[in-house]
């Protein structure tokens, strides 16, 4: 039977009479846990931001028609030469159109799939921007603006104007900010575009697009899918790309493989396209945990030290306690409780300080051209970090307290009493 009242009251008295050392040991834990919380909130915030930078605007599966040489050359279909060895030199791809055949039925088919959140058609083409005497080469992509906002956060990258304006205005264009700067254009101005096949089409500028990647912003513009089809002189079933967003990114690879087989199209999943991003995330997590664990180990040594010292100083008290009927286990619990109290107080303080620091960092301005939506440092505060941090504190103090308290348990009162 353990009498916690008396054990805790002795532990408390010991700690209070050594308040300075206790405070220093607790501050060690506070420092470790505080740093862990701050670091992990900041690092995961950064991870999420960087991942979102890519993931938000990148389709989980991108389907298009690759221009590549046919694997089967006509000669192999000719029965008379079946048994012979045919060599064809200088194979060139057939000048096939980029169009996805049956694009609209494929989209309908994909949207029926339970794993798919949405499949959006696009028409990509190369054009020239013309204003006065300037001509710039660039890309124009025809989209459904409202759906793109919903699924691929296009809205985050519109710095002036809006997706609604693009949707609602005939013959309108969302111009890349780099093009606008080069050509000194404002929202409301007109820009003329010319497809490669020829012809000139005036489009009204309803907004500017800024992805944060300067090279892209200097060429890329968006328009309604119908407008682009009209510019190209194509029918309204002309689609060059399909972008698919899934509910769960893990399904991307298997579904992409299925699409490639079923429709004889190129389907690239996001993980294959952005493999390097996971590596970055992993390394940042590794740094966070390595630093935090190091700090906690240092804090643990602090606790180990103070308990050892305390036990050395309290040798006589331990002998008396044992002589008047406290068992070795009681004595061990007294010193274990001291370690745990230090860990608890230090840990809770650390959580508070970590929370405070994270909240503070979250208000510090952080503006960058690359990510127009971010105004302050990204911080990701999650309850699970606090649970992990607290468990960390308790675990490290438990380990630090265990050895010294074990020693106290084993102290032979007779030896101590004889020694005086």
């Amino acid at each position: 039977m353990v009498n916690w009242n008396i054990i805790l009251s002795i532990a408390k008295t010991h700690l209070l009479t050594k308040i300075k050392q206790t405070a220093i040991a607790a501050l060690g834990v506070t420092f470790g846990i505080g740093s862990y919380i701050t670091l992990v909130c900041f690092m995961t915030g950064l991870n999420t931001m960087l991942d979102n930078l890519v993931l938000n605007q990148t389709p989980h599966i991108h389907i298009y028609n690759e221009i590549e040489p046919s694997e089967k050359q006509p000669i192999s279909l000719y029965d008379n030469l079946k048994e012979s060895f045919n060599v064809v030199h200088s194979i060139k791809p057939k000048l096939s159109q980029k169009k996805i055949h049956n694009g609209l039925p494929i989209i309908k088919f994909l949207e029926k799939d339970d794993a798919v959140r949405g499949a959006l058609p696009q028409v990509k083409t190369q054009i020239f921007y013309m204003a006065g005497s300037i001509e710039l080469a660039g890309n124009l992509t025809g989209i459904n603006p409202l759906s793109e906002v919903e699924l691929f956060n296009l809205g985050d990258y519109i710095v002036e104007g809006s997706a609604e304006a693009l949707h609602n205005t005939d013959n309108s264009i969302l111009l890349g900010i780099g093009i606008a700067k080069k050509m000194a254009l404002k929202v409301g101005d007109r820009v003329q575009v010319s497809p490669i096949k020829g012809g000139i089409f005036p489009l009204k500028i309803v907004g500017f697009y800024q992805s944060g990647i300067a090279d892209l912003d200097a060429v890329q513009s968006f328009s309604n899918i119908k407008t682009v089809q009209r510019i190209l002189g194509e029918a309204n079933n002309y689609i060059t790309d399909i972008n698919v967003k899934l509910y769960d990114i893990e399904n991307a690879l298997p579904l992409a493989q299925k699409i490639e087989q079923q429709f004889d199209l190129k389907a690239i999943d996001i993980k294959t396209a952005n493999a390097q991003f996971e590596t970055g995330t992993d390394i940042r997590n590794l740094i966070t945990y390595a630093v935090s664990i190091t700090l906690l180990i240092v804090a643990g040594f602090g606790i180990y030290n103070i308990l050892n010292m305390l036990i050395y100083e309290k040798m006589n008290d331990i002998a008396i306690l044992k002589a008047i009927g406290f068992s070795g286990k009681d004595v061990q619990l007294i010193f274990m409780s001291q370690a745990m109290i230090i860990g608890f107080v230090g840990g809770v303080l650390g959580l508070l300080i970590g929370y405070g620091l994270s909240s503070l960092i979250a208000t510090v301005p952080f503006e960058t051209e690359a990510i127009p939506t971010v105004k302050t440092y990204p911080i990701n505060i999650q309850p699970s970090f606090f649970i992990i941090g607290f468990s960390f504190a308790m675990l490290s103090t438990f380990l630090a307290g265990y050895l010294p308290s074990k020693k106290a348990k084993k102290i032979d009162p007779v030896k101590i009493i004889r020694g005086l």
């Binding site: 039977m1 009498n3 009242n5 008396i6 008295t13 010991h14 009479t17 006589n316 008290d317 002998a319 008396i320 306690l321 044992k322 002589a323 008047i324 009927g325 406290f326 068992s327 070795g328 286990k329 009681d330 009162p413 007779v414 009493i417 004889r418 005086l420």
Partner: protein, 224 residues
Amino acid sequence: MTTVLEAKHINKYFKKPVMFHVLKDINFQVKKGEFASIMGKSGCGKSTLLYILSTMDTDYEGELYLDNKLISGSDSEHLSYMRNKHIGFVFQFHYLLSEFTILENVMLPAKKLGEKSYQEIEHDAMDKLKMLNIEHLAKKQASRVSGGEKQRVAIARALINNPSIIMGDEPTGNLDSHNAENVFNIFKRLSEEEDLSLLIVTHDEDFANKTDRIIQMEDGKILL
């Protein structure tokens, strides 16, 4: 008359630094209400014997009975309990927990035993302090009282759980004659009025002569 403490064929060896037979076939009893003293030259094994009798030292041969129950070979948890409930120990040096008050020191063994409420324990502790004429010290820090007072506090602490026997290892060895007299009178009264058994190691001839029985020791043996 009932027997409170009985030692049968107790032998003890110290193996280090050299093999040394320190207690040789110790046999004796302490009856209820008996005030016995142990005398003998320094180094003859009195303290060693007392540590065995008080259950703190378990490294010995032979049998030890407390209230006619064999306690040799019990596990340490049980021995702690027996020590807590049935044995009061008074040292030569006044071992108190210096960071606690006098009252807290006296209450400690009862709190550990946990048989009574805090109020009852506090009341009992005040009673013991009154009996020893030191109730005015109750709220003082243990490190702030004199040697004679500390020894009386230690006796109060030994009494708090109403033990079967009080053991003392030269409890007056460190006190002046006035305080030593005082402590003796307390022991005497406890044995006469409360029917408590006492087993006290002493060097003081006068002290021993006033007890009910003197157990003489020499070279680890009891002389009859």
